[in-house]
Symmetry: none
């Protein structure tokens, strides 16, 4: 089935093109489910990127499914969805190439075609001729443009190819432009370029394109970090007039990663003065970068520019007194502009300030509560040192705060619990859990003993706890544990390490996270789940 | 005590100046003992850096001790030791400033003095006048040069200061040069510069220095990564004629870190053609970077340029077939030149070509085994779709391959296992596991029932399995499970989700990863641990 779409209006402004879902997922250790991809795409849209490359439909089954589900489940406010694919095969009519048909069938309004532009790759890897390579580009671009698609050309190995032999590299670009491609993207596929080489290639390419009558072509850039210059190379390309940059959130990507799109956005807007997204959107950058890090289970590096936990952290010492005089003297931008915070490491004052801020966020006015803030700061510091992390677990932090305020609700006293998993002689897996508790507060205080089976020990514990609470608090059934993340701390200890569990719960119009830490995954999970029910019941006014 | 040294001969070649032991240790979470510092210094010397900044004697007690012990315990073959310190205090004679005296007493042949060069810092933070600031620079440099020290000037906030008000910034540099400083270092202390700004500042500074009669001054650069451009900014400065670059191994440093000196060295030598260290020294780069990462307990990032574990790892099926033809088409340098290796990552994007390459890496020649490769590719794809990930789990992949070849060893047949965790009435946590199995292969086949306690259910299972295998295979005790990673797949299902566990095991000279997937963390862990013992025993020739 081949659908002709009404040609999408070109996005004339600067293109911030994200390829986290395609090139980013080439990173070692990064594997995204379709649900992950949809969740990342929503965050990218919120970040204000102009294009989201969703994957390679037809080549990767998961990506085919992503585009199918995106059509139904994904409502993008700003971004446009792009499908990645290749030009037609050598010696095959474009109409007969199933890979090209799958791109069309994906329904994506924009299609980014990768093409060889380094003659050595054309003959050595593709094993075809320069002429056929040009025909492949021309045919595929024209075919897709004819079907109403916006087409971008990713010229693979462009910098290496152009520096080796500029005629063919230029001819590929000219062919794509003439066939109707909207953007010609110069890819530093192997990632070895340095900034001055980027400038040289772009300037010479422009001259050659003008000579070929393709001077009006819009250029883009796609960089990798193999020489440690991915971001600088992209910025340099923008200085040289390029208006479309590709990258991945948090610098994910094959080998050393792609240009970090978060850093690029902040650099372009805050250091080069471009107005790419509204100021209030930029203030969400840190939150979004970390949220995506959680989804892909590859946390933002502490040293990441702008959004890393240490990006605006100052070790006490040489700078401390000067920072108190004027923080702007010691930071290159105001961290609030990207939603991050200045932090004084090992500084009671900074700890209190951020807890006051966090309290305000949660609706508690703690102004002037110096002693309470000091106590809370000390507790948080001590608990974070033992493995807790309140960064994501707002609900657990709020319970801690309520506890300090003497307002923490107690719905039950736990006597004991047990969880068992086993594989029997016939190979069947069984998990069951027992929970014994007494009701607290008003109402009957009798002892409850509940048992439940689950498809794992944590699931069984969750069901047994819910069952023990149900009679007095039927509201527990309105909550659902939606996400469950385990991180091993101090990994050098093997199966003997400390474990942190984050649980996301939703229900009764709420969505919140709790945290548990313990010497084993069951104990840590128990703590997070127990907090989740406590918080859920408390917020329900029970 | 003030020692006059014979003035050291200036190092006329390019300066690779490492400040890992001073600026690098400002990184959040990085704390170095004196022994650590000495060990790092030896590695830096081996790497071929020209200067090692050891710390701030006098200001930091540990650094005073470092210089004292370095004099006796540290024999440097190439590098020269530098002490970091500040110019004299405002309103104090340089001879009377104890901080300056401590620098002299450190015995370091080179002293790097930090000075304010941004007028706003002079008046706002230092609370003194421009004239006094210049006198502080002049006096301190002349004093130390008079005592036979080689003196470098670190002009703090130079780029920001120069862009704000170039007269004073230039005057600081001129004063230091006239007083005898060998190198004037432009510091981007807040780390926000972009490459084109670096070029602009250096060019304008040169013009001003020439006008001031200080055109012969040697310039250096010190960059931070707050805009993601630390390495590019240093390279750009070198392109602009600077012959002294400062950085930290692995990019350690305050906030977002300093310029990564490892990346810088490799870029300068391999991509800009400078001969900084002999080729055989460069081949030690990966080993040294990782060794330092171990000492400072902050491992090299997998995505680190040149030396990261993923720096030359290829995942995409698209590339694998071409890599087989010519690896150089797909990497920006030969990884052997920095002592790293190309690696093929097996994933669901992998086709037959990458499996063939992976097999070769593991010592299996699968050339011409088309049918076997197709079967393996299909198995990998199907298992990855159900949650397995062979990217990191080489050992599990090898077991899969051995299975296809009918060579998979079997050491036991598992009858059943059970793992229990509980919290009792008194709050004590207990985890225990039972494993029942029969021996396979040669030797007694009798049934073994083993029970073990652990600090969690997985630890208990590990110990029980080990105990059940021990009598027939005492080699199991040579292995240790070192790392344990849990990933919840399809997280939307909450505690009901599929779980993937990666286990890293070492022993008998081996280090390898195995993977397990299951509906619960216990079952998935069991599979990964069981594979780990199977693989370990097989590789031990049992």
């Amino acid at each position: 089935m081949t659908t002709t779409l009404p040609a999408p209006a070109p996005l004339t402004g600067f293109h911030l093109y994200d390829t986290t879902l395609r090139d980013g997922s080439q990173q070692e250790g990064l594997t995204l489910s379709v649900a992950d991809k949809l969740a990342v795409a929503r965050h990218l849209d919120e970040l204000g990127v102009t294009y989201i490359e969703g994957g390679w439909p037809g080549a990767v089954p998961r990506d085919t499914e992503f585009f199918a589900r995106a059509g139904e489940e994904l409502t993008l406010r700003h971004a446009r969805l792009a499908a990645f694919g290749a030009t037609r095969k050598a010696g095959v009519r474009v109409e007969d190439d199933p890979q090209v048909a799958a791109l069309v069938d994906s329904g994506a309004p924009t299609i980014t075609l990768v093409a060889k532009s380094d003659l050595r790759h054309v003959t050595g890897a593709l094993r075809t001729t320069a002429e056929e390579n040009l025909a492949m580009v021309r045919d595929t671009v024209a075919h897709l443009v004819g079907l109403g698609r916006e087409v971008f050309l990713d010229a693979e190995h462009f910098f290496d190819g152009f520096r080796h032999e500029p005629e063919h590299a230029t001819a590929v670009m000219t062919a794509a432009h003439e066939a109707g491609a909207s953007v010609l993207v110069l890819c530093d596929t192997n990632g070895g370029m340095l900034p001055h080489q980027v400038t040289e290639v772009i300037e010479e390419l422009r001259t050659r394109l003008e000579q070929a009558g393709a001077g009006a072509a819009r250029l883009g850039v796609h960089t990798h970090n193999d020489s440690g210059c991915a971001v600088a190379n992209a910025l340099t390309a923008v200085r040289a007039g390029i208006t479309h940059v590709q990258g991945c959130v948090n610098g994910y990507g094959e080998r050393t990663g792609n240009a970090d799109l978060v850093t690029l956005l902040a650099d372009l807007q805050l250091r080069m003065g471009m107005e790419l997204v509204p100021a209030h959107v930029l203030e969400e950058t840190t939150r979004i970068a970390h949220a995506i890090g959680e989804i892909v289970n590859m946390p933002v590096g502490t040293r990441a520019p702008y959004v890393g936990a240490s990006a605006f952290a100052h070790k006490a010492g040489l700078h401390a007194s000067a920072i108190r005089v004027d923080p702007d003297l010691y930071q290159h931008i105001d961290p609030q502009r990207v939603g991050n915070d200045m932090r004084m490491i090992i500084s009671d004052m900074a700890g209190r300030a951020s807890i006051e801020l966090k309290g305000r966020e949660l609706g508690f006015d703690l102004t002037g509560e110096g002693e309470l803030l000091s106590r809370l700061a000390a507790t948080v510091k001590q608990r974070e040192a033992s493995g807790y992390s309140y960064e994501a677990a707002d609900a657990s932090f709020e319970l801690l705060l309520l506890d300090e305020l003497g307002q923490v609700p107690s719905y039950s006293t736990v006597e004991s619990w047990r969880a068992t998993s086993q594989r029997g002689r016939d190979g069947t897996l069984e998990s069951e859990a027992t929970v014994k508790l007494h009701g607290d507060g008003d109402g009957p205080h009798e002892r409850k003993v509940a048992i439940a089976e689950g498809n794992g020990p944590v699931n069984a514990l969750d069901l047994a706890l819910r069952s023990a609470l149900r009679e007095r608090h039927p509201e527990v059934d309105d909550f659902e544990l939606r996400d469950f993340k385990v991180r091993i701390l101090d990994a050098q200890h093997g199966t003997d390490a400390t474990v942190r569990v984050l649980v996301r719960t939703s229900g009764r119009g709420l969505e919140f996270q709790t945290v548990g830490v313990g010497p084993n995954v069951i104990e840590a999970s128990w703590e997070a789940i127990y907090d989740a029910y406590t918080y859920g019941l408390y917020k329900s006014g029970v």
